[in-house]
Subunit: 346 residues, 4 copies
């Protein structure tokens, strides 16, 4: 990759502090399978941020893994998941949820977020044993299209789910970018109260690998380690997950990195809008979706890596630019300058 990549938020390795800590602790003998001291300390630290001692925390290596383990561990065979058509589990996990035996009932939305009124028709439709029984609501925050949930929205969803006996699960692959958005009013402790479970994404926010599954509903915690092991996700050297989360949460590094990614996205966004280009949705987290003429996209792609998101019309498409903790301000500047250059026809 000779070009500068805005393709995703996992193009680089880990935050240097994490690597340093791996080195410092490397030859210490520890219990295997997540029962080491680092995992224990990291869990306690996260519990502290959650403001509760009652949540159950487990570290696994990736997001698809977190989703499939948690979801398959709480559903009966005939129970289904409700999700947006844009949900990561719906589109980008190679049918991982179905591979564990469960249907996903999808709902079309504009902004990648679910509301009670999106879910009610699904419940109304599923009335008897000839159909699956919807049981878990899957949301992402920030969503696959960069949007985030407000506290009011999440509270409404949470109350609705409880009333309807639905479990609420949040995919937090990009939770850092959501919680540090300047439009955000949620804190980690809210999630412990409002969701049945969620995961805190490390991979896209400074870790080499690692997501922390947080189970708040104590009816769902029993024997969870069996599920992790059965799906091949109980790392022998679980310590490396503990060490990373310890580092991420000890000095608020997790939030600092999220903030940086968002700031760079905002700069990108403003720079692009300054040229008069539209975005398909306002930039609130670390993803930017500008609509550009196809020939501009073509030229831009010679120096920068990114994905084409959708076709807008014959002449225009939207692209996705993702920033991360490791993106450089200088790269953002270069992209804006390049756009300028392309526009001025040089």
């Amino acid at each position: 990759m000779t070009s500068i990549s805005f393709r995703n938020d996992y193009s680089e390795g880990a935050h240097p502090h994490i690597l340093e800590r791996l080195i410092q602790t490397n030859l210490q003998q520890e219990e295997g399978y997540g029962e080491d001291n680092f995992c224990i300390r990291a869990k306690n630290l996260i519990l502290q941020k959650l403001g509760t001692q009652k949540s159950d925390i487990h570290f696994v290596s990736g997001g698809t893994q977190a989703n499939l383990i948690f979801i398959s561990s709480v559903l009966k065979p005939y129970e289904s998941v409700i999700a947006c058509t844009t949900g990561h589990i719906v589109v980008h996990e190679t049918g991982a949820i179905e591979a564990t035996g469960h249907k996903i009932n999808t709902v079309q939305t504009n902004d990648g977020k679910l509301t009670p009124s999106d879910i009610q028709p699904v419940l109304d439709f599923h009335t008897d044993e000839h159909m699956v029984k919807p049981r878990l609501v899957y949301i992402s925050n920030s969503t696959e299209t960069g949007s985030i949930y407000s506290k009011v929205e999440l509270t409404a969803l949470s109350e609705f789910c409880r009333e309807k006996k639905l479990l609420l699960y949040m995919d937090g692959a990009r939770l850092a970018s959501a919680l540090t958005s300047k439009y955000n009013d949620l804190v980690l402790a809210d999630l412990a109260i409002l969701t049945d479970a969620f995961y805190i994404g490390g991979t896209k926010n400074g870790a080499l690998i690692g997501e922390a599954i947080v189970i708040n509903n104590q009816d769902l915690t029993k024997n969870f380690r069996y599920s992790i092991k059965q799906k091949g996700a109980l790392l022998a050297k679980g310590r490396i997950l503990g060490i990373q989360f310890l580092e991420l949460f000890e000095n608020e590094l997790f939030f600092e990195l999220g903030k940086k990614a968002n700031m760079l996205a905002e700069q990108l966004s403003e720079g692009i809008e300054n040229f008069g280009y539209q975005l398909i949705s306002p930039t609130v987290s670390n993803q930017v979706f500008p609509v550009l003429p196809n020939n501009v996209i073509e030229k831009l792609s010679q120096k920068f890596g990114f994905y084409i998101w959708s076709k807008i019309d014959e002449q225009h498409s939207s692209i996705r630019l993702v920033t991360s903790w490791a993106s450089k301000e200088e790269s953002v500047d270069l992209l804006i300058k390049e756009l300028q250059k392309i526009r001025s026809g040089k």
Copy 2:
């Protein structure tokens, strides 16, 4: 863990060279999901050792994961696996293979190894569609009880499997210890010829995480990345697997580490036998299984970590001592001295 651990071969982190390389390459932007340059180079390097360009190599994070992904990707729903009762997939993977839908037909053996004459009765028994159809033979090398396959044994098994249209798959969690045993006459290139697939264990031999699945039978390689992704095993930062295997194989580090573990096991073994204690099986790799009086075990366990393996009689049990690349000669000496002390009643 204040005691010195011989519990397993994953009590420490990674070999320092691996950590150094992670640091050196950390901020390089790379493709995600195992399509980075490190993975490509590591695969090429391993292919070179295999003496073939035709095998397909994929890196995943752990052994249970490697086993369940490969096995479930090649079997039809009604096909089964043949394995020893001591096989890791039989006992210690929380039913991971069955969770993908497949029965394991087990065979009792003395030494953890399968021979054609162990397998033939299973084939004879399974005659029609009221029973599963045995299709894949699972072996481990070194085995769960520390034994290893000779070239003659593996060749016989391989030929038998081909004749019977059975796939032969080797679990190589401890392949380094097998291939560097002084009793071993197999090389990596033999495995490419004699098995349909196997995996090269990194976790227990110097890596933080990582196993390299090697598929030699080209009928089994198609769309394998779909299977990896669906089971939640396609790491976003796949680079960290590539980097580790690159380091392990660039300077024969993989073999060097295996050799060291074996040497320490041999020292342990000899030291223990010198006191007149028996082993339940000869020490040929990095696991030692001495039979000790229960009161000796009790005292030894105050300073050293290990697992009780089996009850021998009312007064005696066998224990398992595992050495690794990270074990220290000094720890081996301390254990022998401690035994001496216990015996002399001080």
Copy 3:
């Protein structure tokens, strides 16, 4: 049920000829598990109608069973099904396909039928291993909304599927009503050529239980009985399936019964339209979907059994009326007279 039921086509038992034959053959000793003489003869008879000796035929007891066994037997774990949102497997089988591990990619259509242009976008969207790989196209004939495929339509779909390496599978729960529709130009032999597999529905057309899975693509037939047995569908007294299909096909009873159901549906349809009511789709098989004022529906439901299909507006809904081989002309007349009575306000 004191009212007259137009709820479905399985409210009664079997055609009397079938019961007679069960009695005649009752004490004959036969092989179990579908290897009896009746099954053999019934298969040969059906092969004759198919105009081929190459298809593989298996009898099972119900439609959901037929669908889940066939589909799960031909797909790799990461492969998916393409179906209409109205497809029986999508809506009314309690996630049976997903329970075998496979995602269904759904397509919205107006008439419950799939065309190449419905499918192409699904193929375009699924480009890599982060997504499932669409592999099988599921259609129903007649469809869940009563429509049927013409020979031109099915041929186009078949050619498209072959070109795209997609398997084409037809759910024939109501195949009799499709093939005997006066708008139909397909014969059984066409299905043997145009589909990879389909099933001939007995339950809804005169049998007590029973569907005949017909596999035309010989790459898909191997070991199919293992799949049937594993899913619990290999009846010990498989003879009862053979006997029924023998009776259904020996004297064209199958087609005669389908014709009768269609004729009654047409009479119902005309009678209702004569009052000036609209249908949501033209009646071409044994299902009729009139739009009626809600108060008319309410009154009608006091004497006749049927399902409300959909809400049209505040005052109107559509209902579904299903006829079968066992429906009586007299019942149709009674319904029309009752409608007349309701309209005239008596």
Copy 4:
């Protein structure tokens, strides 16, 4: 089949009373999917025999189906089944239980029956999340080798299971032969108290198809119809299951048929023993396992159908002779006479 078959207990159709009742009720319109009046009445009748109103009863078409639906509906993904190595689910259901994701932990026994002391070692062995968690004990009555459980034995097993939080499930494919054995002291009402669930086999005792799953543990009944439907086992014309069980239980026909099968087995058994031949186990239900010289077996097989059970030595094998409600006394006599003839060398 020109020979007389003692191969199994499903070589004929149904008891004539059942067929008569199917005819009498044939054109009555009924609700589908087991909600018809016959199913309701049959359930009430069985509840009466069970001496409880609290059990939940569901009719399905076969034994493998009953086993896989019940077992998969009550286990969490990581939970396993404990069964004898001879258990039907272990050997003869093509891995149906594993296909739903669950391991079976097998125990070797002499007589096909499980005792607490068979089970305890399995519990002792499974100690942590690296292994499956045994949760359900599967037994058959009568067993696959013809033995039956006494009330003392079943009570001990039941108490042990409750103490250990294991579910106890009985496969009753041949329950009629067990409960009508002259060695039996259990009644249906005992099973409602002593097991969490069991099924009453109809197929092998006079029905065309049909097994009645009886769930006694009310924690396991919720949404069970969803599980039935999802596995393809909810017959559209569920009435035919209800009608059969109604007939079987209305006039004690079920027990009468079992008694007849046992009586014929006893006659067979005595006749064979009178020649001085041994049985591999005493005849207590409807299966007889004589040890015969191979040349006798060869000659006998020219006129009678049966399975070779096991090789005893170079000259002898055991065979399995099964009687049923439909076996004829005359056939038993013919077999004994034939044996006589063979022995006298004619």
